[in-house]
């Protein structure tokens, strides 16, 4: 890409510009296995066309010195989708979708740092990824809710059976979700916010 011209980088559409009054941004993370509906959910709630950002993972210990003396490192790049919801004229919420498989956990450092919390999106056809993700979030102390995305051909279990199957602590909310629906996706985020509210200490004084 060439950045030298004034209009070589296509920025946000004018309707997508944030007002200068916005001072604070917060984020939540949607995490789950392949094809579980992360991108769909992000798109359903986002006020902007979902965007993609890349993260690089520099492979540890594989720096090579080439004859020019320039050190090269090999790196892997993984893309993440995200969307945005303006909360008020001061506050904006970003929603990131990230894959749950262990080989993508290198993304989690920058992502969960400072995140309000997470939504674990579960496909009942493939619970294994959810196990890994839930364990990992618990280890990191990231508060989360579980959302079960209902696919037509997927086995349908009562939510309390799934809670048992996933070995979820009783306080962790589990909700049904249709990621294609804005309202359902919004309600899923809302369930997370209500849960976080319960966890948060009441204001001092």
């Amino acid at each position: 890409m060439d950045y030298s011209g004034s209009d070589t980088v296509v920025g946000p559409a004018s309707a997508d510009l944030l007002p200068d009054t916005v001072t604070t941004a917060v984020k939540v993370v949607i995490v789950g296995g392949f094809g579980v509906g992360k991108t769909t959910l992000v798109g359903a709630v986002s006020e902007i066309r979902p965007l993609t950002t890349e993260e690089t993972m520099t492979q540890a210990g594989v720096g090579v010195d080439d004859p020019t003396g320039v050190e090269r490192k090999t790196s892997t790049t993984v893309a993440m989708d995200f969307g945005r919801i303006s909360i008020s004229d001061k506050l904006v919420l970003y929603v990131f979708g990230t894959p749950g498989q262990e080989r993508f956990w290198f993304l989690w450092n920058g992502l969960f740092e400072g995140a309000l919390g997470a939504v674990v999106l579960v496909d009942t056809r493939r619970l294994e990824v959810s196990f890994e993700v839930i364990g990992r979030l618990e280890d990191r102390g990231v508060p989360f809710v579980v959302a079960v995305n209902g696919f037509p051909e997927a086995p349908s279990y009562p939510l309390d059976e799934l809670r048992q199957a996933l070995d979820l602590p009783s306080e962790v909310p589990i909700v049904a979700c249709d990621a294609r629906s804005r309202e359902s996706s919004r309600n899923t985020l809302m369930a997370l916010m209500h849960y976080l509210y319960e966890l948060a200490a009441p204001p001092a004084g």
Partner: protein, 119 residues
């Protein structure tokens, strides 16, 4: 290409290396979060590295680091190096995200709940 499919789909490593002049971004949490909001404080000048100029143009309205990365089609690790240059030179303002490891307070969560209700 999405993460789920894996693989390389971005600019070649050599080009990225040139853009940052070989510097790499902080590996741990640094000054910039993905949702740190960047606002330009200066106009681009012809002498500037094109990527720096592009960031100043993009951030005339507040834009998160993740959005800057998406619009520039550059990895966030590269973008944060460029942003650090601009911050050092006083050409951008960085509106820091809510501090990590601090439980969000109820007022903030109430505001978010309120905003989501209107969605």
């Amino acid at each position: 290409m999405t993460a789920d499919q894996g693989g390389w789909d971005g600019p070649e490593p050599d080009r990225l290396y040139v853009i940052t002049r070989g510097r790499s971004g902080p590996s741990g949490p640094g000054v910039f979060d993905l949702v740190t909001l960047i606002v330009s404080l200066a106009e681009p000048t012809p002498a500037m590295q094109p990527e720096h100029a592009a960031i100043l143009r993009l951030c005339r309205s507040p834009l998160s680091v993740a959005e800057v990365s998406a619009y520039l089609e550059l990895p966030t690790s590269v973008v944060t190096v460029l942003l650090a240059d601009l911050l050092d030179d006083g050409r951008i303002e960085a509106r820091a995200a809510v501090p990590a490891a601090e439980l969000p307070d109820r007022a903030l969560l109430e505001a978010v709940i309120h905003g989501l209700q209107r969605l």
